[in-house]
Every structure is written in structure tokens, then in C-alpha cells.
Amino acid sequence: MSTNPATGPRSQGVLARIAEACDRPRVLGALMLGPAIIYVVAFVAVPFVLAIGLSLSDATVGNPNITNLVGLDNFTQVVHQEAFMLALRNSLLITTLVIVCLLVLATAATELLARDFRGKRLVQILFIMPWAMPVSLAAITWLWLLDSQFSPIDWILVQMHLLGPGGVWGPGRHLYYLGREWLGIGSLVFVDVWRMLPLATIIVLAGRLSIPRERLEQATIDGAGFFRILFRIIIPALAPVLIIAVLFTALLVIGEMSMVSLLTRGGPGHSTQVLPYWAYLKGIESGDLAQGAAIALFLFPVLLVAALIALRMAYRTQDG
């Protein structure tokens, strides 16, 4: 230190100047935002562009390079497959049904969980259980509950004389939930709703608890009943939050393939096929990367438009 008195303060000066420069809002903002942006560009944006390239090429698992562009050929080929049309129908149908059920059930669950009552902690623990386990394990639990031979639900229905000889749905003793087209789709919707309800409720509950208590109390004093308060005050105030909940859960449901891949494997035939699983089967199992990418990409424009409209609505409802 004492041997070189001149450089000490000066290097401090340089450091201080760097520190000062780094502390300007724009520089600090870039430094703090940078790593996340770089990560998202490297692992989301670049693969996304590559995937679009794949969908326009004739790449396969054997030759995965995007060397030969074939334009929209993959898309036209894909839409002519029967399995694709079924997958498209099912993806849209299942997502819509799940959303409708979730909206109703999450609003109902919210009204229950917004109040204080004895044993609330225990109820919260039981309630969040479906969401606490990985999706694939939730699917396995239901695979056992909906087993073709040993489903306990079948057993209950037999005891109630709804199934089995003489039953309304008899004479068989089994419904084969996952082995029939519409029962299969119904089962997928039910299991998705079962799994997503805790998350959807948390989102709606967050909005519900932001409604000022005085407003609700005032309405009660004015003599409004439960349903009047629900439909006139709570639901309109919740509208923006419900839109977020719908968007969020819809995107999770429409992109998820593990439920179908474990429960019905898209069958019987392709009657319960969905787009993500069909893309996976085509792209990876059959090795046609280009068509797989085209299938996975197919809904993107639709989702983009739907999401933009939803976001605008969420903002506007709030402003109005």
C-alpha cells in the first residue's frame, strides 16, 4: 500500500466510476434483466425458431438437419390425416369442457375457502392434494380407479344396481371408462378438472380476497341475498382474474400430453387422441420430426390470437 501510493486511489476511482455507471437505471436494468433474457432467448426463442424451421422442412430423426425446405407441405399432409382431425377436435373439446367445469367449480370452491371456519387447514391440505403430485402420478392413480376390471367406481355402480344384470347400464359389470370414445373423453376431462381445480381456485381466490370487504358487507346490509351478491358484485369484480385463470389453465391443459399418454394412449383407435400426444407420436415414435413440429405448431396462431384478445379484455374490464 505505502510502496505505491499513486495507483491506489486512482484504481479506486476507476472502480467507483464503473460502479456509478452500473448504477444508472438503464444500465442496472439491463444488467439485472439481461441474464433472464439471454436464458429465455437461448432456450425458448431459438428452439422456437428452429421448430418453425423443422415444420417447413423434411427433417426426420435419422436426418434431423434443416437442409431441404418444403414449404407448407407438412401442414397440408398433416390435416389430411384422420388422427389429426380427431386430435384437433379432442384438444379443443377437452380444453373447453375443462375450462367451463373449472370456472364453475373454482368459483364455488372460492366462496367456501374465502370464509374462516374450523378445520380450514386440514381442508386446505386435502384440497390441494391433486395438485401436489406430478401429473404423471395423478394419471396413474386414476388409471387404477378407472381400471377396466377392478374399478371401485364400477363396483359401487353394481351395488346400486345401475350396472350388472338388470341394471340400467347393464348387463355388463364394467363401463370400460378408458376403452370407449366418449367415456374416455369424459374421463380425461374429469381427471384434468380434478387435477387443476386447486390451482384454478388459488388464482380465483386471490382475486376474490382483493374485493373490499365493505362492499360485500354493504350489499348484505342492503338486503341482497347470497346469489345476488355472487352474480352482481363478486363475479363482475372477478372478471379480469377469471380471464387470467382461464388463459393460464387453458394453456396448461392444451399443451399437456401425459394424461392422455398414460390414461387412454389416444385410443381406442385415435378417438381420444390430442394434439400434443399426436405430435409426440408422429415426431418421436415414428421419427417424422417435420410433421411432429407441424402438428405441435398448428394451434399456435389460434392460441396467440385468443391470448391477445383475452389480455385486452382483462385490461379493459379492469379499466371500465
Binding site: F43, L126, I128, W144, L262, A307
Partner: protein, 281 residues
């Protein structure tokens, strides 16, 4: 009289809700201790034990399968994903909330657009990247890739928390001679701790849950996690080891449900700030 009817119906609805969520898991727990013969007795009451309960299937799960490896892998992957997410998302959210001006403030919901890109589309090119990085068939493949799901979500969640901290707080710190970064670290960050807590829970849960990346990027069973390992190892062709599968599920579901359930109010608060900020309230 009317009051007690309302109270009863309220509790009935609460019980119904709890049963709806928990009954499948209760049935899974019941299945764990059934003998194979008891399980496959046609027409027998499935809700009682026809034969004395056994713990053979639990012993099988822990000694004859790689279940403990899957548990450990999932745990390690979860820890790393949470760490990466927090390190990248916390500063990013603060920067968007305070430093990047008007476009940063409007970016709240735009982050959601990342979720429009389905994982089934990304995993083909991502697999190539994972292979190029020489990470295929290791748990690091998932550590590198899973933050694509957690970072956008957690940034959105934290953005709300940082916006809910009054600007006057940082301004006062700046007037006191703090640097901007010090103001963030010492004044704003402590206010956002509940948000970071909610982020940790969500990031962990999302990393645990992911199926498609786990199945496609790791085929070596020693490196598999719960989400991919249990369905592939305990289902061999058409042979299902039901009690072991149910044990594998319950052992994960019950402790996590207790943890998340106790944090329930906290998770709700996490969304409360984010929604208020996102919808401009």
C-alpha cells in the same frame, strides 16, 4: 333455525370439496397394503381388506426398484431449478418493475405469451441443444431445460410483488445515499420475500411435475426423476404393479400436500399481488 341450516349446508359443501380432492389418494393408500390375490378378486368389495394387510409392496418399492433414486433425482433437480429460477427471475422482475421504464411496466402479461409455445413443439430442438451440450441422459439436462417453464411464471409473480412495494421506499433509500442496487437489496427485496417464497413453491412443483422433457431427454433409469421413472419402471408392458405404483404416488402426494396446504394462504397472496399488477389495479 335458518342459521343452523345454512351452517350445516356450508360444512356439507366443504366436506364434499375435500372428499372430491382427497378420495382418490385415500383409495391409493388403501391399495398399497392389499395382497395381490385380494386385489384381483373379481366382484369383491374393493374398499375393505379381504386378506390381512401386507407391507410387502412397500418393501418391494424401496428394495427392488429405483424409486429412491427417482426421489433423490427429483429433489436435486427441484433444488437446482428453484435456485436458477430465483437467481434469474428476481432481478429481472425488479428491473421490469422499476428500471426499464414504461415498456417494462406494460410487460406484465406479455410474459405469459411464452406459455403459448407448447413444450411438445420446443422439445425437439431442445433435445438437440441438450445433446450438443453433452447433457442427454443426465439430470443436468432437466436442470438446464426446466427453468424455461419456471422463469417466465416466477418473473410474472414477482413483478406484482415489486410493484406493490411503494416507490417512496426506494427513493428514500436513494436520498440516504444508497446506490440503486443497494436500495434493491436492502429495502425492496425484504418486502418481496413472501413473493419469493411463493415462487420457490411454484418452481419446485412445476419442476417435479414436468413429464415430456423428463421422458424424452433422459432414458437412463439411474438419471430419471419421479415423473418419468415411476410410469416407465413400474409399468412393464401390460404388467402394472398397482400397490407399488400407489405407494410411489402417495409417498410423494401426501407430504407435498401437507407442505403446500400449510402454505395455501401464502400461495394465494402470491397471486394476489401479481393479479393486481397485471390487470392494472
Amino acid at each position: 333455525m335458518k342459521r343452523s341450516i345454512r351452517k350445516t349446508s356450508f360444512y356439507a359443501a366443504v366436506v364434499l370439496l375435500a372428499l372430491f380432492s382427497a378420495l382418490p389418494v385415500a383409495y391409493a393408500v388403501l391399495t398399497i397394503f392389499k395382497t395381490q390375490a385380494d386385489l384381483f378378486t373379481s366382484g369383491a368389495n374393493p374398499f375393505i381388506y379381504g386378506q390381512p394387510p401386507t407391507i410387502d409392496h412397500l418393501i418391494f418399492l424401496f428394495t427392488q426398484t429405483q424409486y429412491t433414486t427417482f426421489l433423490w433425482n427429483s429433489f436435486v433437480i427441484g433444488l437446482f431449478v428453484v435456485a436458477i429460477t430465483v437467481v434469474l427471475a428476481v432481478p429481472a422482475a425488479y428491473a421490469l418493475a422499476r428500471l426499464t421504464g414504461s415498456w417494462g411496466e406494460r410487460s406484465g402479461m406479455a410474459i405469459f405469451l411464452v406459455y403459448l409455445i407448447p413444450p411438445t413443439l420446443l422439445f425437439i430442438p431442445l433435445y438437440q441443444i441438450v445433446v450438443d451440450l453433452d447433457l442427454a441422459n443426465t439430470i443436468w439436462a432437466l436442470v438446464v431445460v426446466l427453468p424455461t417453464i419456471t422463469i417466465p411464471f416466477c418473473t410474472w409473480l414477482l413483478l406484482g410483488f415489486f410493484r406493490s412495494v411503494p416507490r417512496e421506499l426506494d427513493e428514500a433509500a436513494l436520498l440516504d445515499g444508497c446506490s440503486r442496487f443497494a436500495a434493491f437489496r436492502k429495502v425492496v427485496l425484504p418486502q418481496a420475500l413472501p413473493g419469493i417464497g411463493a415462487c420457490i413453491v411454484f418452481a419446485f412443483s412445476l419442476s417435479l411435475s414436468n413429464y415430456i422433457y423428463s421422458v424424452t431427454f433422459v432414458t437412463e433409469s439411474a438419471a430419471r426423476n419421479l415423473s418419468a421413472g415411476v410410469p416407465t419402471e413400474l409399468i412393464r408392458g401390460d404388467v402394472y404393479f398397482w400397490p407399488a405404483l400407489m405407494a410411489a404416488t402417495s409417498i410423494v402426494a401426501i407430504p407435498l400436500a401437507i407442505a403446500y396446504g400449510l402454505l395455501f394462504d401464502y400461495l394465494v397472496r402470491g397471486f394476489q399481488n401479481a393479479e393486481a399488477a397485471a390487470t392494472g389495479g
